[in-house]
């Protein structure tokens, strides 16, 4: 199981280590540093690195490498999932997960890590339970603790930990009972030169924020559940009920959680909400190139596209760009060759465009590779797959909760080849 954990920052300093079995010397990280050096970018460091006596499994998030050391045959996904869970927990505890934040709260971090793993076996990873064991630091609590001498370590066994619903504690009380669900869809697509779709798929999630008193039992039904043929549920969802009736039935955890994630595959037809018209040309022998892109709405069901960001990694041969946008602002970094254009909203009457010239390295032949355009956007009040919630019911409690459903579509990895 998991032996040790090292946190390493971008500069290559180990700023925290935690051992769950015997102490593993930090020199083991040298192998990691070697791999880090070989990789051109931090993202490219391989997640599994063998060393003579150990294996290093790492994840890279928030500019921090979380490196787990294992010694025996352990499912690597288990370790990587756990590392991601650690990061999520830190984020949950401290708002953001950064080196400064972790250093500021090192004792809490240490206590939390100790609760999460025992002898390398996961012990408590549900944030509800962890928060009962180790209370997250708040300014108020710190002040109170200093005055009264009380601690931020819970001295009672968390109630949920061993019940049939380990994700929920008992005795939850709210004055305003509310349950909000966000249906968020990310669309991943590769569009080719001519504008036709090579592959497109939708990654959807339903994130919930449930603040309900007692032990509510919820059911959520959809207008078109057939869309959901590839789903992953939060453990609270009763799988049998879904299999037979296509209804989500569950006792929710308290607070924020991800109820389900789903995947609408490339085989179904996926609506593409935007198009990009582009004309990027280099000519042999000339030191100037032309650059022109226009972004417009395609299948948006009448909704507005907002938060549009266009970015593109230009070829090395491009020295500078002189461009004029019809709206928004643009930046070209001549060192990293990254062009980004913050477009904002798309007005269908007046399509945003970015035009101009590129100055190329003199004498060199024209670049071999064409830049790929990366697109970011958001559409409120629309789930691009067409998924719609039918109704939400609550059983087991008497009060009437506030309910709300929100839809949103975002670009995931949306790429246009030129």
């Amino acid at each position: 199981m998991i032996h040790s954990l090292f946190l390493i920052n971008a500069a290559g300093d180990i700023f925290l280590e935690k051992h769950w079995k015997s102490v593993v010397s930090r020199s083991v990280c040298d192998y990691f540093f070697e791999a880090q050096e070989r990789a051109s970018e931090a993202e490219n460091v391989p997640p599994v690195i063998p060393t003579p006596h150990h294996y290093l499994l790492s994840v890279y998030r928030h500019k921090i490498f979380f490196v787990a050391v294992i010694q025996s045959e352990v499912p690597p996904l288990f370790v990587i999932e756990f590392l991601h869970r650690v990061v999520d927990t830190f984020q949950d505890y401290f708002g953001i997960c950064s080196e400064v934040m972790i250093k500021d709260n090192v004792v809490v971090v240490y206590e939390v890590l100790e609760e999460m793993l025992d002898n390398g076996f996961p012990l408590a990873t549900e944030s509800n339970i962890l928060k009962e064991l180790i209370k997250p630091p708040t300014i108020l609590r710190t002040v109170v603790n200093t005055i009264t001498g009380s601690t931020n370590v819970g001295d009672q066994l968390p109630t949920g930990q061993l019940s049939v619903v380990p994700w929920r504690r008992t005795g939850v009380k709210y004055t305003n009972n509310e349950a909000y669900f966000d249906v968020i869809e990310e669309i991943d697509a590769i569009i080719d030169k001519s504008g036709s779709t090579i592959t497109a798929e939708i990654q959807g999630v339903i994130d919930a924020c449930v603040k309900l008193t007692g032990m509510p039992d919820l059911t959520l039904s959809f207008m078109n559940p057939r869309l959901l043929d590839d789903v992953s549920f939060h453990p609270c969802v009763r799988f049998k009920r879904w299999e037979s009736e296509r209804i989500l039935s569950f006792i929710p955890p308290d607070g924020n959680f991800r109820l389900l994630s789903y995947h609408v595959s490339a085989q179904n037809l996926v609506a593409i909400p935007v198009y990009v018209k582009h004309n990027i040309s280099f000519r042999d022998g000339s030191s100037l190139g032309r650059f022109e892109i226009t972004v417009g709405p395609k299948q948006t069901m009448g909704k507005t596209i907002e938060g549009v960001m266009v970015s593109s990694q230009m070829p090395k041969g491009v020295l500078n760009m002189s461009l004029t946008p019809s709206q928004g602002t643009h930046v070209f970094d001549p060192v990293t060759k990254l062009l980004s254009w913050d477009v904002g909203k798309i007005n269908p009457q007046k399509l945003p465009s970015l035009k101009g010239t590129m100055s190329l390295q003199g004498g060199a032949s024209k670049p071999d590779e064409n830049p790929t355009i990366n697109l970011q956007f958001k559409i409120q009040q629309l789930a691009i797959s067409g998924l719609k919630v039918n109704r939400l019911d609550m059983y087991g409690e008497k009060y009437k909760p506030f309910k709300g459903i929100k839809y949103m579509t975002k670009a995931g990895k949306f790429q246009v080849r030129t």
């Binding site: 999932e81 991601h84 090192v106 004792v107 206590e111 601690t151 590839d230 453990p235």
Partner: protein, 946 residues
Amino acid sequence: MTDSKYFTTTKKGEIFELKAELNSDKKEKKKEAVKKVIASMTVGKDVSALFPDVVNCMQTDNLELKKLVYLYLMNYAKSQPDMAIMAVNTFVKDCEDPNPLIRALAVRTMGCIRVDKITEYLCEPLRKCLKDEDPYVRKTAAVCVAKLHDINAQLVEDQGFLDTLKDLISDSNPMVVANAVAALSEIAESHPSSNLLDLNPQSINKLLTALNECTEWGQIFILDCLANYMPKDDREAQSICERVTPRLSHANSAVVLSAVKVLMKFMEMLSKDLDYYGTLLKKLAPPLVTLLSAEPELQYVALRNINLIVQKRPEILKHEMKVFFVKYNDPIYVKLEKLDIMIRLASQANIAQVLAELKEYATEVDVDFVRKAVRAIGRCAIKVEQSAERCVSTLLDLIQTKVNYVVQEAIVVIKDIFRKYPNKYESVIATLCENLDSLDEPEARAAMIWIVGEYAERIDNADELLESFLEGFHDESTQVQLQLLTAIVKLFLKKPTETQELVQQVLSLATQDSDNPDLRDRGYIYWRLLSTDPVAAKEVVLAEKPLISEETDLIEPTLLDELICYIGTLASVYHKPPSAFVEGSRGVVHKNLPPRTGSSESAESPDAAPSGVQAPEPPAVIPTQGDLLGDLLNLDLGPPVSGPAMAASSVQMGAVDLLGGGLDSLVGRGSMGGGGGSFAPAPSAAAPASLGAPMGSGLGDLFDLTGGVGALSGSYVAPKTVWLPAMKAKGLEISGTFSRQVGSISMDLVLTNKALQVMSDFAIQFNRNSFGLAPAAPLQVHAPLAPNQSVEISLPLNTVGSVMKMDPLNNLQVAVKNNIDVFYFSTLYPLHILFVEDGKMERQMFLATWKDIPNENEAQFQIKDCSLSADAVSSKLQGSNIFTIAKRNVEGQDMLYQSLKLTNGIWVLAELRIQPSNPSFTLSLKCRAPEVAPYVFQAYETVLKN
């Protein structure tokens, strides 16, 4: 008020300051001090000097302080074992605490203190905690057993904790069950032989129930444990699969992959006709696709596993090609894996899309990725024949880009395409030649040289091209040198008139100026070949090469099956069995897929590779190509041990031809396959040498048992038996026997064509054998053999071939070639075919020799159930060249003294005792080479009983 303040004190007196604070009376100050100590510890500072002071803080009812001290203890107890004893009392007391949280904390921490002396005190509290009323304490205690086992395994066994742990598998609380399973699995890993996780249908049922209720991590442990179970039939397998399938929808990818492992393994037991089988296949695809939308690290592990799954069951993901398309900002390790899977999934249906993508990738920035993409195009061409033309034109387009590494990579793959589709795309050679100068990588240069040599007759200036390479011969890498040597020899054989000088130049460069033994040896081989017999050289060097196979980097099926059992583990990431890399895996348990059982068994073997990717293994022996090559070297270069053999073998064109096939593919592989091993092994290379023996002896039995009609003139001839069954030789059936008539040995063969096509171009060759048996003439099959036709041939043999001791002694390994393939088999020959006509020894000589041979060389045998008289025996044996020298009658018994001589000049002396009343004869044999005795005895028996 953050913890960063704990880092600020870096003054010299820090430790002293902390010491003072730790011993402060004020609780708050103490706690702050311990926090500072912990903070220093997390960044790797050594604060072990404070051990006694920190331990003093342990006696407290403040839980946070207690936890902090425990954290410290776990880190440093090992370095201060004597001090750690001080903490024991507190632990023991805490294990009795009314608060389960504190009981659990105590037992958990105690287990983490890896000090032998403390473990003794741990046993009693642990025993109590394992039976604690609170499940939280029990589940913590279960893990503690694993910790303790790690420190002192003997103690755990002696104290009976393992049994208690096994009992916990039946605990009412699913979390306790999961932890017990996890602990047992970990212990079992270090003791592969112990049968700790004794799974039976009852315990499986309990695990399946717990599976639904425990935490995600517990589910992983339980699923991994389930995967080791072997269901008793297909129905049990199906019912387990049904209960595991819901796990595929879990949000935790590790749970999903562990579930996939269980399903992939148990699916093996289900019949393919079952509806459920199809349903299961369909259910497996979506979760695998979903794994690819997770974080890149998870994707990577998932892709490595999908790579295995796609090889085992390509049907699962055959429609999901698009999810493996590469996004330009995927991390490189994800890109490379996706590319690999794309090629595996490529088929005629999707090849157009795949090629378009690959072409796109070939213009990306990342060099490694671009190279792999170009290589992938070549692999597509080899895999999907219909696409070959399009692939070649895509590659030509890429060559036009003149991007150096793209061109080089393209040339390497085009060489492979030539090997797969010879004489089809040679029109592109001109384009390739244009880029000759830009090649600077050895692999690309070697590939180009191979192409020039192979197609020398179509390239007008081939000699100039090769000559240009020759200028810097000594600066080239070995790979290029070897290839250049072969290419120039090829060129010479094709255009001998203009290139004599060139070939001499390269041969002298290779043999005289080089210090590389491989190069020198190959140079000498060519030289000798060319100088002794240019015709033979042509046969050898220009022999037709076997086509390379479709998929070149498939995992070998038995390894694949083993790896399928390790889905989701490190083994699946490395594509190696754990025994190959996991440290401390004492003793290795090889997992394997369960065989299919149950009613509806199909004829197909469960281990069969998907859709015939593996060529059927050749039936028999010829040990290795190395040996064949050794033979050749002996014949041509070695000191002439057997003078006549050399002449004989170079006359035998058929034989040399056979060797040539083997040799050339060997040579080809040695030189071209350096990067990536893209060539298929020649069929013979895969034959395990060990197969020969059991098969041979089986045939021997047949010989012994099948008494039939034998010709009595001359020596005894056994009836023909099948040596090479048709199913092992692509329709060619060979049966035969050996005979000796008037001083000449012959091998009587019947070749039967049971295939649908005409067979021709037969040739035969023997491997070295104990008595130097070799064909005295080529195999003469005058007309091509039509389907369902047989031909009888008598092949004359001599005994001047080269000699190698075989086991059994009379084992003969034979290679037969026809226009279809080369086949190998082995057979046993009866020794009496080797008994020569002048085997009668002088009487005096006999007596002297009999005395001279030491008694330990004497061997006695019983010949049972033989009712012949002494005279009949004598005359019968004489027919097979066993000569009676004297006959005596002693006390009613007939004693026959006999001698015989083997072709290699070994004399065997025999004394045969015949009692008139007793059908059993006693045979005593004396010989200077006692190992022949049993075979002589066999010959006696064969002759006498027929």
